[in-house]
Point group: D2
Chain length 295, copies 4
């Protein structure tokens, strides 16, 4: 497949035909298009190059529109996140990616606004009611090139110590379409591959490798140069597609690009994820309560 | 011309044939390819869509290589900058662009390391020898969308007050090739168009509009999505090129992208420009002297 | 006076007795203590070392409390700012200070969230109603040590070109009390001295020097080490005060300090000022409208 | 003791007299004053409120002077660090503190420039010689209030997994003197108390609690307001000291301050620590080699 994508929805689009073992349902709520895609069979999983499981894609209005006034939209996203989470117990939220590379900073930026509550204990907590909040731990894992430690090793160490009921892993993804960057959210119960969004595939973080359910939350922030080019000349003309494949300059295949507005896109997506996740974890608190704890 | 570029050297490449009124000389020094392009006639200026004047393009090794140890390279760039500057008198260095948009932050980032000396006067300056430094003022102009003031108006106001002998305007540019981003430096004596690199063309800043020579220093940091796509399928096959032009998705024309490594690229290019410019302006100081004043 | 302060209210406190030519009124609104101090005589001005005019001090709850939910408080501050502004015409907002020095970054941080509207013209503006907004320009002046240009020269140049009806100058101030840092706002119609908050007194920016009314908005962010020490041993015992004055280590007089929470303090104060000022300038827009334009 | 300090050297100063079980040697190298203090007895440890062990204090020129040209000074510091490290095997470097609070950001800032090498394996590493570098892992632990995990728990988890021969823990400290901030380096073989520099004492990280030697590297970045005040009126007059103690305003005891130049101070100290530590760990590489790998 010459068009790389981390979105299950796009992988299905690219295969094109009806696939056995793939189930897709769509819904619209508060201006968000929600697609629920289930990959049920091993064959379908191989065809789409995605693990079996549930992928929920939320398509939001483009980032030029503000989302500040839309408590309803936060509510819609929080509802979808909540369905993937265990009903109670400690949740470890992990922000993946390199904070010094803007298009890869989604995880660490979101983490800095996720409310950690696991350590809140004792008199003061009881007096203020904070001891009733669900226990949450929140870490930025860094990237292997800077820490010398694989993200999987890192998470595994922490899990053995703090024993969460589930992990939520936040990471930047790659899409096949520029127009989707920053305004599409993929939730899945199949875990996440660290560095996928920036071209370094490593061991998948999931129930099998970590021994605890891993919910992935990702937003596409980059697109491969050659994928972008194919997309721009999108065609049903089979012969022309062949020509494109022949003529592409091989040196372009490795290059990965991001829109010039990437800073804005990352800031908004990180705030959106943190706010929705906080809302999904602490159902008693309103969006206004959460905002005043986050800032 | 469907392939947009702010580099005169690339504009000439795209026209392809020998053009009357355009003179090109090439040289190699310390691993830098120096191209000196002169546009002499009005007709050539129209063909290339670039004002008449001198354009010096310096092609450096890719940004993955460090330049920290290369005092020689700083010297080569400083030499080229110095040739475009008046021999003495006040120089106003202006950093154009939006510091909050990483690919547009080249100007403000470079300015923060340009040594301002115009205000250094009096006893202490005399005692330390700092009063002998060439007078330099250094400002970040901001962008019209954030200030409400056109960059030209802004510079014109300051010029009337401080009366510099020349302006050096630093800005991010657009290239037609991903591979050139961050490792090509264009110097010119024809001024600069603010916002060119990020798609907003405004009044050109030059001798005619500002009444003082304007030396432009730019580094390409972005590429238009459709330019990138054409470049990736680069071909001499005339028929295939026609097909490409027909099949391109029109919505892609407006999108502008940057490499995922943009933070690194901007940091290095800004340091390189500041260091070379400081060296060109203060010929008595070594690179080590300059670095210790800059940090 | 060995206890340095930029707050007129504190200067009066330090003098201690009733002063002829100084009028003080106090009021409480929505948890904010508002003090309106008028210096009417030349003698009082000399005694307090502050120019004649009106100083409005707003004492807010400490920064540990959030202000996100308090549209009412924003309204109170906006009302006070509005009383000092001309009723219509262009306003130039200037952020003073060095963005790279956290306790001095109040001005530039606030400016980045002030809505500039002077450039919004034409069809689109008419269609969206944006052409009805009051014209505002917003610049960060930088600091002389980095630009080579005095703040007064800088503003004077811009004023001659764009001819505003008033200037609003935002800057960090020095207080005599740690407890006031970050939660006290001083508004005045007497202009501002750039760099006062960080110990560099330069030409005052005011009606006399710039030819246009200058409204100062400041928040104390620093305190001199010796002022802090005197404050900590605050005493009515005249003899002990004399001893303190004798025994102070002279090297400490020059040192200026800030609380360890300075980042939080600056972020909150900058947002508070930008939001209140935007609200004072654009009376038709709600706080929610403003927030969605600011982010 | 009303004057709080994390520096063993200052604790001894404050006790004043000769203390049994405390040994102090001083040396000057390349403009650095090196004090080697050994606390040998339990009684001395209690008197100074510091664990038994070795404390090396390096007093550098004030931060207004550049250290960029001083490869010799880097060498002096690296020598002292190396004496505390095991001769070979994996080293885990941990940066403690909150990156969003400037005076507490020393650890995370330094970590971002520490070279991690533990993951470098395989053909490419062999070809480039990188596989011969000493294995190093480098993590920022975050702070409990943001992660929900105690720093000790965090490090213990990672240690169990990667089994280092030693930990180097970098953190901001509190001093009793403003003049020492940013230009004094304390190395010790007694571990470190996370959050000490910003007033939150938690379980000490040391050989006893973590099961592996912990080398502490700290730079004072803050001073308690009341400690600062006492220091400013420093006196041998016993009677006056008593008066000070009586008259201090109790609300001032909790406040912690930092110099207004804290950003510069943190940036320089973090670079100095990272460079010295990299040099101590990778003895085959020159300062220039290290700088080009770090940037």
């Amino acid at each position: 497949m010459e068009r790389r994508t981390d979105l299950a929805l796009e992988a299905r689009e690219l295969v094109g035909e009806e696939i056995k073992g793939v189930n897709l349902e769509e819904e619209h709520r508060c201006g968000i298009k929600i697609s629920r895609l289930k990959i049920d069979s091993e064959r379908a999983s191989r065809q789409l190059d995605k693990p079996r499981g549930t992928y929920i894609t939320l398509e939001l209005p483009p980032l030029t529109d503000s989302f500040r006034d839309t408590d309803e939209r936060i509510g819609v996203i929080a509802d979808e996140v909540r369905k993937l989470l265990p009903v109670n117990g400690l949740v470890l939220v992990a922000g993946l990616g390199n904070p010094e590379i803007t298009p890869d900073a989604l995880g660490p930026k979101a983490i800095s606004k996720v409310l950690a509550t696991r350590h809140i204990k004792g008199e003061v907590a009881r007096a203020t009611g904070l001891d009733k909040l669900r226990p949450v731990a929140a870490i930025a894992t860094g990237v292997t090139g800077k820490t010398g430690i694989e993200t999987g090793e890192y998470l595994y160490s922490i899990i053995k110590k703090i024993k969460p009921n589930a992990i939520v892993a936040i990471d930047a993804l790659a899409s096949r379409r520029l127009a989707r960057l920053g305004c599409t959210l993929q939730l899945s119960n199949t875990g996440i591959s660290p560095g996928a969004g920036v071209g370094n595939n490593r061991t998948r973080l999931c129930d099998e490798t970590l021994g605890v359910p891993v919910i992935g939350i990702g937003v596409p922030t980059v697109v491969e140069a050659s994928t972008l080019a194919f997309d721009l000349f999108d065609t049903n003309d089979e012969e022309f597609s062949c020509q494109l494949r022949e003529k592409v300059n091989p040196s372009g295949r490795q290059m990965v690009v991001t829109p010039k507005e990437i800073d804005l896109l990352i800031n908004r997506a990180a705030e959106l994820i943190a706010l929705s996740l906080n809302s999904a974890l602490h159902t008693d608190l309103s969006v206004n309560d959460l905002l005043s704890l986050m800032y």
